[in-house]
Symmetry: C2
Subunit: 153 residues, 2 copies
DNA sequence: CTAGCTGCAAAGCGTTTGCACGATG
DNA sequence: CATCGTGCAAACGCTTTGCAGCTAG
């Protein structure tokens, strides 16, 4: 059974109907590597199905999110980003200075979920974390800028 | 030196001016336990300073965030939430079913930051994580609902 | 003094909602 | 054929921006 079949089955079993729009949105997200915003999803779907409405995209993304077939995260405060939940989960390190995005293997967070479950009985969704910070380049750049400021100021 | 003094000093040193609005917004966030939305901040500030504008609040929150005196997170996709960055850091477990909020001690994530720094040279901001999932109550409730569905359906 | 900050008002933008039509199972 | 999903359009709500006047340093 392919991943796509799995999603379709999940959709069906949960009592949702299978519409062309939903299938397309599913496959767009599946083929995508990494995140997509709602409008990006919409643009891709439009290529093969020109009359999809933004509201349909949002409604579908909501359904898929509730079924935990995709993840949503809103890191910028602007557009939310959606991503297919793969088998080989991973997370992201995002540099808040230059925006560089580094993939972080799931093993860094694997134990966290079980610890929290044991101690709090809380079943954490460790599907896709976005961890902010400073990348190597920006750390040294900022350090250089600071020492310059002290010398000249 | 009190925490408040520290913030004011940081503000000054970074070349920002000290206006009554900024001082008030700072102290509101400092006294608050936990998160506040921008409009909540505004309401509190208005009590002692009735003519603050929302735009001023947003601009100030932006400044404080850049100086890393407060954290911003947008978990709902709706209003962003802002929080004073304490010394004793902590994180939150948020139930995606009932919204229950549990405080998670920083030690669960303390090692993560150093691991990432060692392996990637990435200086992660492990200031305030929001971890979603299901609380104990909702886990069992959902399990009950599922078995019912299988029996009746 | 003068760069930076504020209030005001209006626009911006992602997202949601009401409704009638259409499609799915 | 009953229900659920869709497109359309309009509304919504948080946030941002342009601008003229004010103020901290």
């Amino acid at each position: 059974m392919s991943c796509e079949d799995h999603s379709i089955q999940t959709l069906r079993e949960s009592g949702h109907r299978l519409t062309p729009q939903r299938v397309l949105i599913l496959s767009v997200l599946r083929r995508a590597e990494g995140h997509m915003t709602a409008s990006e999803v919409r643009d891709h779907v439009k290529e093969s199905y020109p009359y999809v409405d933004a509201s349909t995209v949002y409604r579908t993304l909501g359904v898929l999110k509730n079924l935990r077939l995709i993840s949503e995260n809103n890191i910028t405060g602007g557009e939310s980003e959606y991503e297919w939940l793969h088998q080989n989960r991973h997370h992201h390190l995002i540099c808040r200075e230059c925006g560089e995005l580094t993939r972080l293997d799931h093993r860094y967070l694997a134990s966290l979920g079980t610890e929290i479950l044991e101690d709090y009985g809380f079943k954490a969704d460790i599907d896709h974390f976005a961890i902010f910070g400073l990348c190597t380049g920006c750390v040294s750049e900022l350090a250089a800028r600071d020492s310059e400021r002290i010398l000249t100021g």
